[in-house]
Assembly symmetry: C2
Homo-oligomer: 218 residues x 2
């Protein structure tokens, strides 16, 4: 189970028929959209809502949601998060993936995709894409799904502008260290987003977004 | 004056010769790079550092920096933040602007570009670009600088792929409401990053980054 916090997320979960168990509301809170599926609604006081919610202030709502079953990667454009630890970046990558029609794989010790902070940054993107979690050897599973793995590296890769054959799996590394050497070497392609030499690197969510946009099918 | 927090920011400020007045360190903190310009260094205890720093935990360092003079926009690629209130988005846009060689304009009630949270998300980008603050009528000032203003709109604009003549000024609106109608109408161009119809919009920092990358001169 996980916790959805705030009217936008809870309303989007209801609209897309997520499996909600309980929705906690306050008397002062905004009305929720009418729904045709069964949800338990519990009214609580402001102080109780304050204890329930970690990322938003009262008046709520907060909903308990069953996390969807994760499926392995398929032959579909995909972004792969490798040790992405920042919930804001992870959520933004999910939001962007949903916007550009990508699936999402969480690999190599990334943050939990269903934690409340990631859900909040995802802004409903979680409900519009497929999210998998892979514990080991993601490249082998991407290869098995017939995906073309593309490692984003801050220096030394091919320029992003060049086209890549096949269905892309864009690999995004951690903020602090980028992708591991093993991942970079195992990937089918190494690609660099050209920046001014003064800069160390782009934000992980920004780099992933620019690459997803480049390889998106329209 | 503003406050730089954490070793990365303070070291980058020293390296790029920002006007630091005082650097607060703890005995347990990391060593700072040697500098050839005068800076007062004050050693404080852990609890004092905890009171000084808002965005990082001890062991520090924290530095007091003189905010550089803001200059009006010039004929140079520019990103314009219009009512961007989230410090993380504002900082990420500055970081991305620095990476792609853009100047930055804060307009229409955006967050303070020099607040500690924006500096932290900027990851040193503040020291590698020019940042202006415009209180009123930004389009007139962009026009005066002979910039081609490009309003990013979630629907109905020209597809981003099309080239635009002149030196670009990319206008990014607020997370909640996008650009104001007045700004959209006053801009020279209206451009949309095509997404799947399920999605409301991209994150503001992501949209700005994709547009800056598209119009960057390389």
């Amino acid at each position: 189970l996980t916790l959805l916090e705030g009217r936008h997320l809870v309303a989007e979960a209801i609209r897309t028929h997520q499996r909600l168990e309980t929705v906690f509301v306050t008397a002062a809170g905004p009305p929720l959209p009418v729904s045709d599926h069964w949800i338990e609604i519990v009214e609580v006081t402001g102080p109780v809502m304050e204890r329930l919610a970690g990322t938003v202030s009262p008046p709520g709502p907060v909903a308990v949601m069953k996390i969807p079953e994760a499926a392995p990667p398929t032959t579909h454009p995909t972004v792969v998060l490798c040790a992405v630890a920042d919930p804001g970046n992870a959520g933004t990558l999910i939001r962007t993936a949903a916007a550009f029609g990508y699936h999402v794989v969480f690999a190599e010790g990334s943050v939990d995709p269903w934690s409340p902070k990631v859900l909040r940054a995802g802004a409903g993107g979680h409900f519009h894409t497929a999210i998998s979690v892979i514990d080991r050897d993601p490249i082998a599973q991407l290869d098995a799904a017939d995906l073309t793995s593309i490692a984003l590296v801050s220096h030394g890769g091919a320029v992003l502008a060049a086209p890549v054959e096949g269905v892309p799996a864009v690999l995004v590394g951690s903020e602090a260290h980028g992708l591991s050497t093993a991942m970079v070497e195992a990937a089918g392609h190494r690609v660099t987003i050209v920046t001014k030499p003064v800069t160390e690197s782009l934000n992980a969510a920004v780099a992933g977004a620019i690459a997803m946009h480049r390889y998106a099918t329209r």
